[in-house]
């Protein structure tokens, strides 16, 4: 809670500073393009509709949020500032990409661990199979020698088979 308040405070201060900077330039704010707005909106999720990225959502609420991103860009905010602002306002769930800290980092860690573990186990299994084989290596040596003609035929039939 305190962190959120602090964040909000920082954001407000920054926006004030940015606003002053913009007005100090005197020639008014630069109008950001739709593509610049969407580049940021893509990283956010609509806070009301289920599973819809903000850049493609067509509800009134989402249009307002995109307008807000535009205003913030116009007053000189950077992308991380805007994203932090939305997280402070609406919570972590607006982030399309889950954070890599706290409890949420588990979403990233577990699959990596699982795959590493899986490959480790596979390797062990393969080794144990190979060890199981080891004593019986010399078994087929006493097979009868085959004539060249027969070998040729085997080769041919195997080729046809496959």
């Amino acid at each position: 809670m305190i962190r959120k308040l602090l964040l909000a405070l920082v954001v407000v201060l920054l926006s004030l500073a940015a606003g002053q900077a913009a007005s100090a330039q005197g020639n008014g704010p630069i109008q950001p393009t739709d593509d610049q707005v969407n580049a940021i909106a893509k990283k956010l999720y609509c806070p009301v509709c289920p599973n819809t990225p903000l850049d493609v959502c067509e509800t009134k609420a989402c249009q307002d949020w995109r307008a807000q991103i535009r205003d913030e860009l116009a007053s000189g905010w950077t992308e991380p500032q805007i994203i932090d602002y939305f997280v402070a306002q609406y919570g972590e769930r607006v982030l399309a990409e889950p954070q890599r800290k706290g409890f949420t980092s588990l979403v990233w860690l577990l699959p990596v661990l699982a795959v590493a573990l899986g490959i480790g186990v596979t390797w062990q299994v393969l080794r144990s199979w190979q060890r199981a084989r080891a004593p019986a290596v010399s078994a087929p040596t006493d097979a009868p020698p085959l004539s060249a003609a027969l070998l040729d035929r085997i080769e041919r039939e195997l080729r046809d088979l496959d």
Binding site: D35, R93, V107, R127, A132
Partner: protein, 689 residues
């Protein structure tokens, strides 16, 4: 009247399936022939009864019997007769009935075709498959009944939905129905649910065979594994078609310029597909080498549980909001059933580990066995990542109380590298020998594909350099395709030299004689084409968003879209259409008129975006209308996407179906399949001589 008949036969089907489950279990436990016959007859009879029930509901939808709550929900007078029939799977109640019917038809097909061949397993096969069928028919009868009617109870503000007449209530018939959700009126959404359901329900067959084999102590026999493999292939290909059609629907209807959004519902469908694919490969080791039996059984249990989980997610909407779970009795009942299925079959497997023990031995780590094992590890790893990402929002909310979103960036980052590793493995593994592969031999067969793919990807990547990783992705796709092309060429050349056949005849004989191997190669080729669609989507996609007045243009990647004007008119199906007229030009040359639309379904109060697309093998130009000047109709806002290689994904789906047909089709000849035994290959040929 017919609806009453449907309800009655639904109820009888429920009683019969309960009986079949019990009789099958009894026949299995006591080895009673008569009980087995009786269980079979009861199971076979559920199919025509459910057919009657489905027929009655379809007729009610077609003839607009608005006394039924379900019909009033999904059918309407403005809908065409064809759409009214497809409304069978347009809502929950109808979907579940349809699902139960498909499952009963699968069970009936097995009982008719395989009764003698897998006779020992049949009692428990019936018990397992009919237990699941009973569960679904039970859901339809008691929780989500499509034959429930609307009743007007005196003194109540709202209509009551009930199967039987509440006290003093009067039957209510609406003037017109709500009609099918407009977003579902598309060929993809008409074909997607039936194929997906066929895929999901089809997995009940290999699952029931596995459980029957475990229960009857016959799990060591390999006959049931062969039967399971072919039925899994059937389920798998339907699920594949369902995935492709679903992607196509999303691309055409949802209007966000993509085809795969890593939505929970999409993930729910992908997971059983992933483990099913792993099973189709592990079962080959079981078949050829008698190894990995426990693992194959575990995979089929997992696949089936995941398809139940998929149905659970789509039908209860639990991921979208946890609150949907408790809204009806469906969620908790379903959840309990999945838990019981998964844990029950897993403990059964663990109790039978001894009977399944097989001799595992391997000559060299460099062998096809290793490649298959690695493939299985990767597939299960991807499944876990997808599962964990899909359920994590719920986990997080339960544990910390914080709601989080796990969106496409997560799934791309985690599964992307694993999928790319699979593509490389897919190119190499079919060239490797069972038991032992000499490194030099492998390098020799890989030399040509490696050289060809290096040249192709360098040229291709250089002409479209946008992202460094794109070279790698393009290399992988071209490596896989050239490996397959060289394999075909080797086979054809061998036949041409040995038999003097012409190339076409050689190809035909190759596909006929080794249909499993070359069918699989064709499926792999289809997978690579789908992968190309994803590569295009990940690395080469371009988009822009702009508002223009009449006469002005939007520019993107060499294309120029000039906005000419807007017009409004009334369309069919009760929609009001707003259409933009625009001219697409490339490098100053006029190509085509594009008319992106926004359709508004007045009765349902729902808008629908209809993109205008210029589709070519290389890329799609995809334009949607997202905003407009309502007062003077003088300006419009467009979103314009260039989606490279996307048509390859759809074509890849078709090729995968074709490959599966080749693989399962035996052309009436004995299958040229063989098993390897230590040191026996040569002596087998000698005895033939």
């Amino acid at each position: 009247m017919l609806a009453d008949l449907g309800l009655a036969s639904l109820f009888i089907a429920f009683l019969l399936s309960v009986y079949a489950t019990a009789a099958g279990a009894l026949a299995g436990a006591r080895h009673r022939e008569a009980w087995a016959e009786s269980a079979r007859n009861a199971s076979l009879l559920t199919f025509p009864l459910l057919t009657l029930s489905v027929g009655a509901l379809v007729y009610a939808l077609y003839s607009l019997d608005f006394t039924l709550a379900y019909v009033a929900d999904v059918s309407s007078q403005t809908m065409s007769p064809f759409l009214r029939v497809t409304a069978l799977w347009g809502g929950q109640q109808g979907s579940l009935l349809f699902w139960a019917w498909l499952m009963a038809s699968f069970v009936a097909a097995v009982l008719l075709r395989k009764w003698r061949r897998n006779r020992d397993l049949m009692p428990y096969f019936i018990a397992t498959s009919m237990l699941t069928t009973t569960f679904f028919i039970g859901l339809v009868v008691f929780i989500s009944n499509p034959f429930a009617r609307l009743w007007l109870v005196p003194g109540a503000d709202e209509l009551t939905t009930a199967v039987f007449q509440p006290a003093q209530a009067m039957l209510y018939a609406a003037e017109d129905g709500q009609g099918l959700n407009p977003l579902l009126r598309h060929f993809g959404m008409i074909g997607h649910p039936p194929t997906t359901y066929l895929g999901f329900t089809g997995f009940v067959i290999p699952f029931s065979f596995a459980i029957a084999a475990l229960l009857s102590g016959k799990a060591r026999d390999e006959e049931w594994i062969r039967t399971s493999r072919s039925w899994t292939l059937v389920a798998w290909i339907f699920l594949t078609i369902g995935l492709v059609l679903g992607g196509r629907w999303a691309y055409d209807v949802l209007g966000w310029g993509g085809f795969w959004g890593w939505d929970p519902v999409e993930n729910a469908m992908l997971m059983p597909w992933l483990t099913g694919t792993a099973f189709l490969h592990s079962v080959m080791i079981t078949e050829k080498r008698g190894m990995l039996k426990v693992w194959s059984v575990a995979l089929i249990i997992l696949t089936y549980s995941l398809s139940l989980f998929g149905t659970f997610i789509t039908r209860t909407g639990v991921i979208g909001s946890v609150h949907a779970f408790a809204k009806t009795a469906l969620g908790p009942v379903f959840f309990a059933f999945i838990g019981l299925t998964f844990l029950g079959s897993l403990s059964l497997l663990l109790n039978n580990l001894k009977t399944l023990r097989a001799e595992h031995e391997l000559e060299s780590v460099l062998s096809r066995e290793t490649a298959f094992l690695l493939q299985n590890t990767l597939f299960v790893g991807i499944t876990f990542a997808v599962f964990w990402g899909t359920v994590f929002p719920m986990v997080s909310e339960l544990v910390t109380g914080t709601k989080v979103t796990v969106g496409p960036p997560y799934f791309r980052a985690v599964t992307g590298p694993l999928f790319l590793a699979l593509l490389v493995l897919m190119a190499i593994a079919p060239l490797m020998a069972w038991r032992k592969q000499s490194p030099r031999g492998l390098l020799r067969s890989l030399a040509a594909p490696l050289a060809a793919s290096a040249v192709i990807s360098a040229v291709w990547g250089f002409s479209h350099r946008m992202h460094p990783a794109s070279f790698l992705a393009l290399w992988m796709v071209s490596f896989g395709s050239s490996a397959i092309a060289f394999e075909f060429w080797k086979g054809i050349r061998a036949r041409m030299q040995a038999r003097g056949e012409n190339p076409l005849k050689a190809l035909a004989t190759l596909l006929q004689r080794s249909h499993r191997r070359y069918g699989a190669m064709v499926i792999h080729l289809g997978v690579l084409m789908v992968a190309m669609g994803f590569v295009g989507d990940a690395y080469f996609k371009q988009e822009t968003h702009a508002t223009v007045s009449a006469g002005e243009s939007v520019q993107l990647g060499g294309y120029e879209l000039r906005f000419n004007g807007l017009r409004q008119y009334a369309g069919s199906d009760g929609r009001a259409i707003l259409e933009a007229s625009a001219t697409l030009a490339q490098d100053g040359r006029l190509i085509r008129e594009l008319r992106p639309r926004r359709d508004f379904f007045v009765a349902q109060d729902q808008p629908s975006t209809v993109p205008a697309v210029l589709s070519t093998p290389g890329e799609d130009v995809y334009v949607i209308l997202v905003g407009w000047d309502e007062a003077a109709m003088s300006w419009a806002t467009f979103k314009m996407y260039i989606n490279p290689l996307i048509n390859w994904a759809w074509a890849g789906g078709v090729i995968m179906v074709l490959g599966t047909l080749i693989a399962v089709w035996s052309f009436g000849e004995a299958e040229a399949s063989y098993r390897l035994r230590p040191g026996l290959v040569a002596s087998v040929v000698v005895t033939k001589e």
